[in-house]
Symmetry: C2
Subunit: 361 residues, 2 copies
Amino acid sequence: MATYHIAVLPGDGIGPEVMEQANRVLDAVCTKFDITLERTTYPVGGFAIDQHGEALPQTTLDGCEQADAILFGSIGGPKWDSLPLDKRPERAALLKLRSHFDLFSNLRPAKIYSGLEHLSPLRSDIAQSGVDVLVVRELTSGIYFGQPKGLEGEGEEQFAFDTMRYSKREIRRIAISAFEAAMKRNKKVTSVDKANVLVCSRLWREVVEEVAKDYPEVKLEHIYIDNATMQLICDPAQFDVMLCSNLFGDIISDECAMLTGSMGLLPSASINGSGFGMYEPAGGSAPDIAGKGIANPIAQILSASMMLRYSLGEVDAADAIDAAVVKTLEDGILTAELMPKEERVNASSTAAVGTYILQQI
Amino acid sequence: MATYHIAVLPGDGIGPEVMEQANRVLDAVCTKFDITLERTTYPVGGFAIDQHGEALPQTTLDGCEQADAILFGSIGGPKWDSLPLDKRPERAALLKLRSHFDLFSNLRPAKIYSGLEHLSPLRSDIAQSGVDVLVVRELTSGIYFGQPKGLEGEGEEQFAFDTMRYSKREIRRIAISAFEAAMKRNKKVTSVDKANVLVCSRLWREVVEEVAKDYPEVKLEHIYIDNATMQLICDPAQFDVMLCSNLFGDIISDECAMLTGSMGLLPSASINGSGFGMYEPAGGSAPDIAGKGIANPIAQILSASMMLRYSLGEVDAADAIDAAVVKTLEDGILTAELMPKEERVNASSTAAVGTYILQQI
Ligand SMILES: CC(C)[C@H](C(=O)O)[C@@H](O)C(=O)O
Ligand SMILES: CC(C)[C@H](C(=O)O)[C@@H](O)C(=O)O
């Protein structure tokens, strides 16, 4: 019987309530597949600021160090928005965890589930043609972390600067992530850059071309970020895996998520070179609906499934969760935001969706 | 009788044929409003490379220097894509003209014309709610032009770097453009940044807040670029003026253009501190349809109208062109790409649309 240690960081807003459902579903697959998941819960985000004075207390970081993976909820909210930037939940916890564990490979799948096409903000013929994209975003370099960064000068000539920076090594490892993912999907990689303007993008293209040689079955295309933003809207079905730098991936992955119209269904994974990873919903902490029992737990549950698949290698358990989610959606067990306004009286609660999913396992 | 000198740079692809129609329409308003526009045509882009060995010959630059404004067509095409980056039409001509004339204020209006809602790739209820956005993009600084930029190191540790850089002065002048534009529109500015990650964005926010104090009637909001990309898709009607840095404006303006579904209708202006400007369609040179007489001339004609309005101060003439275009669209005088596939047998040619427009003047 396999035993794993998981650091559970529920965070703020809807984090704790959706995490509760993910834990219930994990209990169900553990029983079925004879897995032991030792889970320890740690404070993070605004909750940790309120309790311990900082968004990522040392005990939380230590707990993550000792774990095989991190299951993360969501963090932030208006209460902590007036803190200095470096203390805020997003930077002090999220960016810190990414860089501390070198979680360079961020996988953000976005798809329109069959039957939920009407949620997409796209014209119905385009939504019907489908959105099923995996954004592979570089997460620990680029303009997020590049040095130098700062302010210089005086008066009107005072200027700010940020450095976008990529090494061949950094580009190569994320490109490999994208091609490996494409081999398990539809064998197409679209690399997003701005090679007509950025030196980083030129090196990016060069290294991506080199990596592509090792994957002759995968079709590679290059697209400028401005054009990618447009093509996603008028013809999203042309994309399979989209390979992006940190900043462009931030933009493209959010655009893809919005195109599905169901952010509450989308998980994400952030993985390092040894398979250690952090798994979290694509959406935010949604403070406006927190505590009401109406938040969609599926993104959190699918994040747990990605954790089983990518960090623990428990593929059967992950498949079981994914299948249970598909069945639940097909059976119309939906939280309110997935339903047309006039049908929302029949919406399922956070807990009811969790229960239905674990019953399918 | 006012006399102006215009440098006309038709360029490549559909550039020359749509420029021909813009010239005919300009002739009509000149007669009606007693304006003299002395126009001299100069080579630019791939055409100039073929004829003179470079995308922006000195004679063209000199001609622009002596003019009151530049009316630009479009440049580039597969024929010149294999040239080294610095020789290619986009960089050698477009970026060069922008920086040479300090054309820092790029105005890109995007709207869905009444009756053309079906062209939008958005779900019909969203398209019906309307898209009417003016993107004000900073065009001569940021990561496009920031120094240093380059490649260093060896082997896998070789790295590329680009510098995003903004001074208070540069931010202030583009912010003023945005607020001035908002005063003539719906009095709302949404400033797009990534202040949770970039030092440039923090200085951007600070200066934009300062400028806002001089425009108490204008409502100011700040939005992160990733969220802006999403909000544009699910609720574009919330935006009036979107104020963006160079890179974010590149992305946001193209997204806005795509949301209208009618890129062939969208003009743009790039203006400097003395009112000198370059006016060009938002779309590209469309080499695939060049020379067939089917390209939509309206973006070029509206670019001529923006030129009359912003560089020459001939507001009545500009209003006349805009009204003629609206009437033409309402009367259903459309090029093929604006029509449903099954109706395209009734499409108007490039010249027929030009003729109809000038008849309305
Ligand atoms: C909160 C923010 C710093 C973060 C990012 O830009 O990476 C978020 O937008 C994301 O995509 O995870
Ligand atoms: C051709 C390219 C350099 C240019 C830009 O990025 O500015 C284009 O995309 C534009 O928006 O005018």
